[in-house]
Symmetry: C2
Subunit: 462 residues, 2 copies
Amino acid sequence: MKSARPYIQEHKDRFIEELVQLLKIPSISADSAYKEDVIKTASIIKSSLEKAGCDTVEICETPGYPIVFGEKKIDKSLPTVLVYGHYDVQPPDPVDLWDSPPFKPVIKKTKLHPEGAIFARGSCDDKGQMYMHVKALEYMTATNQLPCNVKFMIEGEEEVGSESLGWFVERNREKLANDVILISDTGMIANDIPSITTGLRGLSYVEVEVTGPNRDLHSGLYGGAVANPINILTKMIASLHDENNHITIPGFYDDVEELSTEERAKMAEAPFSKEAYCKALDIEDVYGEAGYTTNERNSIRPTLDVNGIWGGYIGEGAKTVIASKAFAKISMRLVPDQDWKKITDLFKAHFESIAPKGVTVKVNPHHGGQAYVTPIDSKGYKAAEKAYESTFGKTPIPQRSGGSIPIVSLFEKELQSKTILMGFGLDSDAIHSPNEHFGVWNYLKGIETIPQFYHYFTEMNT
Amino acid sequence: MKSARPYIQEHKDRFIEELVQLLKIPSISADSAYKEDVIKTASIIKSSLEKAGCDTVEICETPGYPIVFGEKKIDKSLPTVLVYGHYDVQPPDPVDLWDSPPFKPVIKKTKLHPEGAIFARGSCDDKGQMYMHVKALEYMTATNQLPCNVKFMIEGEEEVGSESLGWFVERNREKLANDVILISDTGMIANDIPSITTGLRGLSYVEVEVTGPNRDLHSGLYGGAVANPINILTKMIASLHDENNHITIPGFYDDVEELSTEERAKMAEAPFSKEAYCKALDIEDVYGEAGYTTNERNSIRPTLDVNGIWGGYIGEGAKTVIASKAFAKISMRLVPDQDWKKITDLFKAHFESIAPKGVTVKVNPHHGGQAYVTPIDSKGYKAAEKAYESTFGKTPIPQRSGGSIPIVSLFEKELQSKTILMGFGLDSDAIHSPNEHFGVWNYLKGIETIPQFYHYFTEMNT
């Protein structure tokens, strides 16, 4: 396949402008206030897929947000690539920490992105990376080089657990039949160190509620005499880690895949500077589970983090009150062989069991997903490797990511095909954070690399 | 002095209506958004004092909210009673737990208030109890029975630490000169068990801030590898109590007044039903410091309570984020001989010392005040005792309260006079909580009892 570079040069400004327009819509799936925006985004994806060359594109209704399904069939004797991505985004909170409004995209140069980066919620996760595939399809059809069949499945609930996607996949195995699933929703080590994500962590996300007295109380009249739900909640959460930062939930580690010394040695070869890492985050030191390196702590080890906590008076000034209730959102990142439903049950049983008399505890599971590891000897991986080599001039490093894409393991189970994670973002792109951005160079490099994957994958399968 | 009962019967409806009007104004001193309402309330207090019979009433400016000072001099050879109260109120949060809007007063019968109670923020704390004194003055002047001189000092910052009051008192010792200070800002055991508050706890109120990474992070990419400020905050707060619920801050108990076995035995005579206490709060059991009874835990023992906590994503749904910052508002109730400034310093030093590497901690002291104990053999106490006997037909029980009125010890220091705490509310009146209320019977009983205090106090001092 010819290099897409000339075509990209010619249409570069339009490619960027189309993405900027897409980023202006606050398609926040977690907050029902943005329902119309989420749905509007789906229809924009539909028309962009049609323009890019799909023969048919449908907006498939689900119990939740719709899934956009597009298809271009060339010849059923040829392999089929299924592209997955999502058009919903994380909430932008805390909005006041953004340097520019999250849904008013601006392009600014940064140290890591000298050619400029697009700052907006969703620019990297995942509108920008998903749209690379739409533009790659445009290139292949516009230049009559599409070497195989292609299907697109773009959902709107990835940031809230992809429940409707599971529902949809189970009901459309035929329609979704494919030879490989291609996803760009992860990152790479650096612009000059391409990498392919070979592992993802699973997730269990719960919300807990601690209730003490049936009403807020005066902390003078009752302080010291009744269980304060906030104090109790801090005690309960604190007890979930021991002094070595091991998680104390009984059975939590039972199924954890232990890597061999060789595997850990190989991991340790990936370039890492603790100084640079701490400097980038303005922290004095790293912190985590005893006996593991930073790269291991955020990839091959399970974790438990509080993502949000609230209770009592949080307004201006002082209020001497004992709150009736305290709340927290807690997520656990899981590793291969840990079952997220089992872990959720273990958490629930343990958390309820450690509640002292004087309070009642509710644990409400939000959502979750299984961890995933992909073999590096599959045709899909080899094709991706060659694609990167042809556009980066370097062999990509296989890398475990700490993040989760819950549906990847679902795809393997329901569609019996492997997923290849070709991510073009950087960890420093601040996804899920204020000032999320995506390098213009990375965006265009993705559009250039993806067609090469189609080429090599077809070659190996025919 | 004649019984005020006939006069109260005649003017009852107006007395209630005047209070209802006062309760309609959201004079929330903690929230600057209500500044105008707080100031408006001061001017209403001024005119009501003038109508009630004060010769002169001024609105005295301070660095914060104004203090209303009113005076009626009869004869300087006669004793002077200084009435203190406050016209500001606590924030009504959480508003959604109120059965009726906090600033739209309604009168409803309750089990403990068969003659009806006024439901509104400030009804008991302290607009209602403060206004009893205004109406008592009206009775005494209208019927030419005021037996001594009287001064009123009504402030607007009690709920946020009375800083301007300290400033004002230090500058107006002459103007405020008195023989006894009378305050109704506490409660009594029950409508058929009158009590006089002889002790108050001190207070130290701080706000803490834990900062980790310089931005919110994706909990997948960074989870397990960096200190999560919320997890750290829960660990730090949890560590402030040991397994016996003793506070672990070094030196915290050094100055705590230990009561004798006799004193504790006397305290234990006060009627208390753990079953009724738990039932009223819908809790399975009480909770607190080992080795002390419930009545001791909330009166003669110091405590540490989180009054508010927040951090990370607290909106609808899920967000997999590691917050950059986490916050908490923490208050400590102190007992006689603990100095609130020393305790605040001890807390700050300790809390900062237990922060692990990877986070930075800020402790911002809000405000505080000293604990107070009044002797039960003073003329003021004896006069109050007789006043209750004459209107309740029972001798009131001396009672230590767990609450704090930081300025009481300031009064003793600056004005060299004792404070008598004649409270007519009930602990169950939900002050500082949703659905705060004040019994109509209690309101009128206070107006009936206060003039008797003036009578007996004057009698004993001439």
